[in-house]
C-alpha cells in the first residue's frame, strides 16, 4: 500500500520546486517509460544534464575525469538523475532531445513530489531505485528482475561507465520509488497502444494501420494486403494483387502503379493505360489511343484488315488493288502519277492524254471531244461537233465516218458516198455513181474540201448551184434541189471530154 506524501509549499520552495511543479505529470505506461529510457543506452555520462536523441548517427559524447570534476564533450548525455527524470517525464512532458535536469538524487530520495516510496520487494517495471548519502547518490530505472533478485537496470552509471542497460544488484540502502500517474497497462513496444488493443504488440505502430484488416498491423504483418505474396516480394505490398502483374516491369505492380505502362502519362489520363504511347495519338478521337485502338480511324474496319488504318474508309476502295486504299493511296490507279497530278486519278493513264484539254484525261473522260455529247452516245466521240448524223447507221457519225453509206467503199473514192453502192456502177456523169445519179437518196460526192459541192459547210446551197433539197434535209443536211443540176452539169462535162479523147 502506498500513499502520496504532501510536502509544505515552503519546503518545496526551499528545495527549488515551485507550486507549478506540483501539477500531476502526464500519464505514462510502464512500457512507454522503459522504451524511452532504452534510448539513452550508449550515450555518455553528462553531469548535471539530461538529453539524448533517437538519431542513431548522433555523436554520443564522451566523459573524462571524476565527476563532478569531470569534463564532457558532445551535445548529448545524462547523469543518473537527469536520465530518470527524462525517462519518467517529470515534472512534465519534456522531449528527450531537450536538455533538462529538474531533480537530483537528493530530490528523488527525500521527496515525494511526483513519486512515492514503495516497498523494496514490490518493484515493477519503470520503478526506480535511488540511493543517497551525504557524499553522493545514484538512481537507476528498474526494468525487470531475475531469479536471484538482480535487476535489469537502465542507468547512467558514471563518467567511465556511461549509460547502460545491464543486470545488477542493489543493496538495501537503495529505496524503491514509483512515479505517479503510471498505468499498469502493458505496452510492450511502448508505442502508446496497450497490448490488449495493439495489433502489433512488439513492434511500434502508433497508427495501428492494418491494410487488410486481418487484425495484424502492417508493421508486423508479413503480408499487409493479404494477397498471399509476402511484402518483401510483393510489388504492391499494400494493394491486393495476387497476379503481381507489372506491365512496364518497373517493379511496381499495375495495381498500385499510377503509370502502368511507364510512358510518362498517368493512368487516369492515359488513353492507353496498358500500352506505352507517350504521344497519346488518337486518330478517331474516340478516347482510345491508336496504340491500343483496334480501329484507329473508327471506320468500322479493324486496323488489321483496314487498307487505310488511319483514314476512315468504310468502303475499303482500292482501285489499283495494291493493298493501300484509295483514301490513303497517293496514286490510286498506280500509274506512277500522284493523284493530285493525275488527270485520271483512278484510271491508270501514264500518258495523261487529254484530247479536249479539259483536264480530264482521255482514259476517264466521258466526253473525249468535249462536244457535249457523252462518249457512249456521241457518234463521233473523238470529233467535236454537234452533228450526230449517222447515214449508214453504223454507230459512227457521218462527221467521222470514212464510209458514210457503209458500202465498204471509203468516202474519198466512193462515187456515191452517201448511197450504198458497193458495185460503184458509174452513171453517165463521171465520178458519179449510178446509185446516186438515179435520184436515189444519197449525198453527192464530197468535193476536195470534203464538203458536198454546191453547198456551204453549213449545208446552205451555194449561190448559183441548183440548190437541190434532198428528202429529209434540214439544217443539218447538206442536200439541196440544186444538187442534181450540178451533178448533171458535171456529167455532161466529163462525157464531153471522153468523146474528144
Amino acid at each position: 500500500m502506498t500513499t502520496r506524501t504532501q510536502l509544505p509549499l515552503l519546503l518545496l520552495a526551499a528545495l527549488g520546486l515551485s507550486s507549478v511543479a506540483l501539477a500531476a505529470p502526464p500519464t505514462q505506461t510502464r512500457d512507454q517509460i522503459i522504451a524511452r529510457g532504452k534510448g539513452v543506452v550508449g550515450f555518455s555520462y553528462w553531469w548535471g544534464h539530461g538529453r539524448w536523441t533517437t538519431d542513431s548517427s548522433a555523436y554520443r559524447g564522451s566523459c573524462s575525469g571524476s565527476c563532478p570534476s569531470c569534463s564532457h564533450s558532445g551535445a548529448y548525455g545524462a547523469d543518473c538523475s537527469g536520465f530518470v527524470a527524462k525517462a519518467w517525464q517529470v515534472p512534465g512532458t519534456s522531449a528527450v532531445t531537450t536538455d533538462s535536469h529538474p531533480y537530483s538524487t537528493y530530490h528523488f530520495y527525500h521527496n515525494a513530489t511526483h513519486w512515492t516510496h514503495i516497498s523494496r520487494g514490490s518493484t515493477k517495471k519503470a520503478d526506480a531505485m535511488v540511493y543517497r548519502t551525504s557524499s553522493g547518490g545514484h538512481i537507476f530505472l528498474y526494468e525487470s528482475g531475475d531469479p536471484w533478485g538482480w535487476m535489469t537496470a537502465i542507468e547512467c552509471k558514471s563518467c567511465s561507465g556511461g549509460c547502460v542497460r545491464a543486470g545488477r544488484s542493489a543493496s538495501s540502502s537503495y529505496k524503491a520509488i514509483r512515479r505517479h500517474n503510471i498505468t499498469d497497462v502493458v505496452d510492450t513496444d511502448g508505442d502508446g497502444v496497450p497490448d490488449a488493443k495493439d495489433n502489433c504488440k512488439t513492434v511500434k505502430n502508433a497508427d495501428q494501420k492494418d491494410t487488410d484488416k486481418d487484425g495484424k498491423g502492417d508493421a508486423c504483418d508479413t503480408d499487409d494486403d493479404n494477397d498471399g505474396i509476402l511484402d518483401t516480394k510483393d510489388n504492391c505490398p499494400l494493394v491486393k494483387n495476387a497476379s503481381q502483374k507489372d506491365t512496364d516491369g518497373d517493379g511496381k505492380g499495375d495495381a498500385c502503379d499510377t503509370d502502368m505502362d511507364g510512358d510518362g502519362v498517368p493512368n487516369a489520363s492515359d488513353n492507353c493505360p496498358l500500352v506505352k504511347n507517350a504521344d497519346q495519338k488518337d486518330t478517331d478521337k474516340d478516347g482510345k489511343g491508336d496504340a491500343c485502338d483496334a480501329d484507329d480511324d473508327g471506320d468500322g474496319v479493324p486496323d488489321a484488315a483496314d487498307n487505310c488504318p488511319k483514314h476512315a474508309n468504310a468502303d475499303q476502295l482500292d482501285t489499283d488493288k495494291d493493298g493501300k486504299g484509295d483514301a490513303c493511296d497517293t496514286d490510286d490507279d498506280n500509274d506512277g502519277l500522284l493523284d493530285e497530278d493525275d488527270n485520271c486519278p483512278t484510271v491508270a493513264n501514264a500518258n495523261q492524254t487529254d484530247m479536249d484539254e479539259d483536264g480530264i484525261g482521255d482514259s476517264c473522260d466521258d466526253d473525249l471531244d468535249g462536244d457535249g455529247f457523252a462518249n457512249d452516245v456521241d457518234v463521233c466521240p473523238l470529233l467535236a461537233g454537234e452533228n450526230q448524223d449517222d447515214t449508214d447507221g453504223d454507230g459512227l457519225g457521218d462527221e467521222c465516218d470514212d464510209d458514210l453509206d457503209g458500202d465498204g467503199v471509203l468516202n474519198v473514192v466512193d462515187n456515191c458516198p452517201s448511197v450504198a453502192n458497193a458495185d460503184q456502177e458509174e452513171s453517165v456523169v463521171e465520178g458519179i455513181g449510178q446509185a446516186c445519179a438515179d435520184g436515189a437518196v444519197g449525198e453527192p460526192p464530197l468535193g476536195p474540201t470534203g464538203m458536198q459541192e454546191g453547198f456551204t459547210p453549213d449545208g446552205v446551197p451555194v449561190e448559183g448551184s441548183c440548190g437541190c433539197t434532198l428528202p429529209g434535209a434540214g439544217s443539218g443536211h447538206r442536200r439541196s434541189g440544186a444538187l442534181g443540176l450540178v451533178l448533171l452539169g458535171l456529167f455532161l462535162m466529163r462525157r464531153g471530154r471522153r468523146e474528144r479523147a
Binding site: 515525494a112 523494496r120 531475475d146 533478485g149 535489469t152 567511465s160 545491464a166 543486470g167 540502502s173 529505496k175
Partner: protein, 259 residues
C-alpha cells in the same frame, strides 16, 4: 567488484574503478595486474593461471589479460545464447574453455580452451557442480530461496529450500566445492511496513549445505552497502577454500569462511 583465489591461495581482487587486479598473498599485496578498462566486472583464472576478464558494459567481451595488462585474446559476448552483453551475470573458465552465465540461469560456452571463439556455443543448464554430477540453479522468494540440481541427462530436482526471518533482497553467490557441499550467499533486509519503508535491518548471509541438501551452517556477515554493485561476493577457491568479499564503509573485506 569480484575476486578469484588460485591453488596457492593467492587472492586476485578486481578493483574495477581503478582498472586493476590486486593480488594478495595473505594480507600482503603481492602485485598489481593492470587492466585495459574500468568497466571490467568479473575475473577468472584458467588452468595455467592466466587471467580472464569480463567487460560486458564496455567492450562487450571476455578478454585474456597478460600479467602486463595486455589483452591477448578477446571474445565477443553477444552471439548464440547471449542476446545482450548486459545479461551476463558471471564468468567461468574451465578446462574445456570459457563460459558465461546469462541472467543467473544457463551457462554458455563462448570459447575453447585455447581461447578461440566458438560459433556453435554449447549451453549448460546452470552452474557447474562437478562433485554432484550436475548443474545448480537458485531462485529467491520473498523470505526464502530454492536451489535446484539438474544431473546429466535428468530433469532438475529440488536440492534445497531455505527460509529466512528477514526478506531476501537478492542472492550474491552460489558455489559448490570438491566435497559436493553447496554454498549460497544472500543479502537480507527488513523494512518498515509503511511508507517511506525505512530500512530497519540488513545482513549478508552464507548458507552451506551438504551434498544431500541438508543445511550445515549459516554465517552472518556485515551487509553490503553503498551505491556500487558487487558482482562476485562468494567463491570457492582453487585451493578448496570458501571465500566471501564484503563491502562496508571501510572498504572491501575478503574473508575465508572455511579451512
Amino acid at each position: 567488484m569480484s575476486f578469484v583465489v588460485d591453488e596457492r591461495g593467492r587472492a586476485f581482487v578486481l578493483d574495477q574503478i581503478n582498472s586493476r587486479i590486486q593480488v594478495f598473498e595473505g594480507d600482503r599485496l603481492a602485485r598489481i595486474v593492470p587492466l585495459p578498462a574500468d568497466t571490467i566486472q568479473d575475473i577468472a583464472l584458467d588452468a595455467k593461471g592466466g587471467v580472464w576478464a569480463l567487460d560486458r558494459l564496455g567492450a562487450g567481451s571476455v578478454a585474456h589479460v597478460t600479467e602486463d595488462g595486455v589483452v591477448s585474446h578477446e571474445i565477443a559476448l553477444v552471439g548464440d545464447g547471449v542476446e545482450d552483453a548486459g545479461d551476463v551475470s558471471a564468468l567461468e573458465v574451465r578446462a574445456d574453455g570459457v563460459w558465461v552465465e546469462v541472467r543467473h540461469a544457463t551457462l554458455v560456452q563462448i570459447a575453447s580452451a585455447d581461447g578461440i571463439a566458438l560459433a556453435d556455443r554449447p549451453v549448460a543448464p546452470g552452474r557447474f557442480a562437478d562433485a554432484l554430477g550436475g548443474h545448480l540453479r537458485a531462485a529467491k522468494s520473498s523470505f526464502g530461496a530454492a536451489i535446484t540440481l539438474q544431473k546429466q541427462g535428468e530433469r532438475p530436482e529440488v536440492f534445497a529450500k531455505l527460509r529466512f526471518s528477514m526478506r531476501v533482497g537478492h542472492l550474491t553467490g552460489l558455489e559448490s566445492d570438491r566435497e559436493g557441499n553447496v554454498h549460497v550467499s544472500l543479502h537480507l533486509f527488513d523494512e518498515s511496513p509503511e511508507p517511506p519503508f525505512e530500512l530497519l535491518a540488513q545482513q549478508d548471509l552464507v548458507v552451506t549445505l551438504d551434498r544431500a541438501g541438508r543445511e550445515l551452517s549459516r554465517v552472518v556477515l556485515p551487509p553490503e552497502s553503498g551505491a556500487e554493485e558487487s558482482f562476485r561476493r562468494l567463491r570457492v577457491g582453487a585451493n578448496g577454500g570458501l571465500y566471501h568479499l564484503g563491502f562496508d564503509s571501510d572498504g572491501a573485506t575478503l574473508r575465508r569462511l572455511s579451512p
